[in-house]
């Protein structure tokens, strides 16, 4: 084989390897190091380095091979030097001969380090960095073919570095967007909580109700194994479930005794009004308007506004419904004191399967049991119910019995179907 053919094959092989290497988006430093090796090995150059522009004025060596440890690791380049380099047509500058100001400034350390060529990496009319090259192991001068090979390979390396920078910028922007999105979500949550407080202020007897319903709903959903996003969504739905009350006459909401049929019908409009208020909003969570609309539906079809039955009611609405009723039973109202926990458990047992979804009741009972038996990280339900409310000796037994009974029913229903 002729030497020139042999050289061509060797160079083509290196170019193919270099193409693969610069496309590698993994370890950037390793990519540059390997690319430098490929370039040095193609022409058998004893030493070299790749310096990348860190900013508009400073360059740092990303890869060095065969150079003494005292060799410069950092360079600076002025604006004037940059425009001069961008205007030079030659692909590589001979350190001994070039009049370029940058090379004049670094002439001494480059010569001392054995660097013979400086090749600017210019991508899209921007200086990406430099490749610094020592002499050939053969001792020969660089030929025109050598310069062409160097030009082609340095362009590859330059594009690789430029692409890496772009990927880094995209990743940085994606991270900024993620942070912004998180901030927006936090703002949304805070706004919703403030809104919930505003809803509750209208009803002087149920202050904090919406916030508690949001928290109970979140606890139940988490106990049922919902994802973090879904849990956040149901918490928001809980906060906003009574938003429709904003359009109900304050006197009806604050009536100290049972209200008449007309007022009751007015009050019962609030789920649909809530749906109408919430529907035009682009919530970051699914089905929030539906959960507000259906939180007074019952499994037996005797609820409102649409008289939906079991499967027709979204699970989220079933959770909010239980959280809402539980809070109503465990807080004082104008016309009655709150009910004892034993009484509440009795209500849940009696109405499971007709008003409440048994699976949801079981999840809530488990969450309460976990808190009072010390198996939960926090005692949030206990805190919301206030000191002493769950201290009764029979409380764990009541919960265990309720869970066993409803679980048993659920299992026999499943076996039957």
């Amino acid at each position: 084989m002729e030497a020139s053919t042999h050289k061509l094959i060797h160079t083509f092989g290196a170019l193919a390897d270099l193409g693969q290497e610069v496309a590698n988006t993994g370890d950037f430093t390793e990519m540059v190091r390997t690319s430098l090796h490929l370039l040095l090995g193609t022409l058998a150059l004893r030493r070299g380095a790749v310096a990348e522009c860190n900013d508009l004025k400073n360059l740092g060596c990303v890869a060095i091979w065969g150079l003494d440890h005292t060799f410069l690791k950092e360079f600076s380049v002025t604006e004037q030097e940059q425009s001069e380099l961008l205007g030079i047509e030659s692909p590589a500058l001979l350190v001994k001969e070039s009049n370029a100001s940058f090379l004049q400034r670094y002439h001494e350390p480059l010569i001392a380090g054995g660097i013979e060529l400086v090749v600017p990496m210019i991508v899209r009319r921007e200086l990406t960095g430099f490749v610094l090259l020592g002499g050939k192991a053969s001792g020969e001068e660089f030929s025109a073919d050598d310069f062409e090979t160097i030009r082609a390979m340095v362009r590859h390396i330059g594009v690789g570095i430029h692409t890496h920078r772009l990927i880094e910028q995209v990743a940085q922007r994606a991270e900024e967007n993620r942070r912004l999105y998180e901030e927006l979500r936090a703002i949304y949550r805070d706004t919703v909580r403030a809104f919930a407080a505003a809803i509750d202020i209208k009803d002087k007897y149920t202050q904090g109700h919406s916030e508690r319903v949001g928290r109970y709903s979140e606890i139940i959903a988490r106990e049922m194994g919902w994802s973090e996003d879904e849990v956040e969504g149901i918490q928001i739905a809980g906060y906003l479930h009574d938003v429709g009350k904003l359009v109900v006459d304050r006197n009806i909401i604050n009536a100290p005794y049972h209200i008449d049929a007309k007022s009751s019908s007015e009050l019962n409009r609030h789920p649909v009004a809530g749906y109408e208020i919430l529907s035009p909003i682009n919530h970051p969570y699914a089905d929030i308007p539906l959960m507000a609309k259906y939180h007074h539906e019952r499994l037996d079809g005797r609820g409102y506004p649409d008289g939906l039955t079991d499967e027709q009611i979204p699970l989220g609405a079933k959770i909010v419904s239980l959280a809402d009723s539980f809070d109503a039973m465990t807080t004082d109202r104008p016309y009655r004191r709150r009910r004892s926990f034993e009484d509440v458990i009795r209500d849940l047992r009696e109405n499971s399967g007709t008003q409440f979804e048994p699976k949801v009741v079981v999840a809530f009972a488990r969450a309460i049991l976990n808190e009072i038996s010390g198996n939960a990280k926090e005692r949030r339900i206990v805190k919301m119910l206030g000191k002493g409310y769950l201290d009764g000796e029979r409380v764990p037994l009541l919960l265990t019995d309720l869970i066993a009974e409803l679980d048993g029913n659920l299992q026999s229903t499943a076996a039957g179907s």
């Binding site: 030497a3 042999h6 060797h10 290196a14 390897d17 090995g41 150059l45 065969g66």
Partner: protein, 126 residues
């Protein structure tokens, strides 16, 4: 003769000469292992290196760059380098790129050891 396979590169010593065996394809992965092994041998007091290419079919650009690095390290340690059992195609490549100006070639390990017994300091590269 004690043959070590440290870092998966086979090598052994004859006196103060280390014989390091290159694999079938001298590329980045295998090249770096050979370089490490050569450094290790020089650090442990070897005064000459024989790199045996008997199994080597192909040397790529990275392999060339790494071999130049080994020559450099040996030179700085005052050690001589001999390439042995290099196939014709690789000899052409080494010739064309000028590596043969800095290392002696030997037909086989024995010849390499004989060459080194009449040790002459290598010319300094710049």
């Amino acid at each position: 003769m004690d043959i070590s396979t440290g870092a998966t590169v086979k090598s052994h010593c004859v006196g103060t000469t280390a014989i390091v065996y290159a694999s079938d394809y001298l590329n980045k992965l295998t090249g770096e292992k050979i370089e490490r092994e050569c450094r290790r041998q020089l650090d442990s007091g070897c005064r000459a290196l024989v790199i045996d290419f008997a199994d080597t079919q192909l040397v790529n650009s990275i392999g060339i760059s790494i071999l130049l690095g080994i020559i450099d390290i040996a030179e700085k340690s005052g050690a001589q380098v001999v390439f042995s059992d290099v196939n014709n195609q690789t000899i052409q490549l080494f010739d064309m790129l000028g590596l043969t100006r800095h290392v002696a070639l030997a037909k086989n390990e024995q010849e390499a050891l004989s060459t080194l017994s009449g040790f002459n300091p290598m010319p300094t590269l710049h």
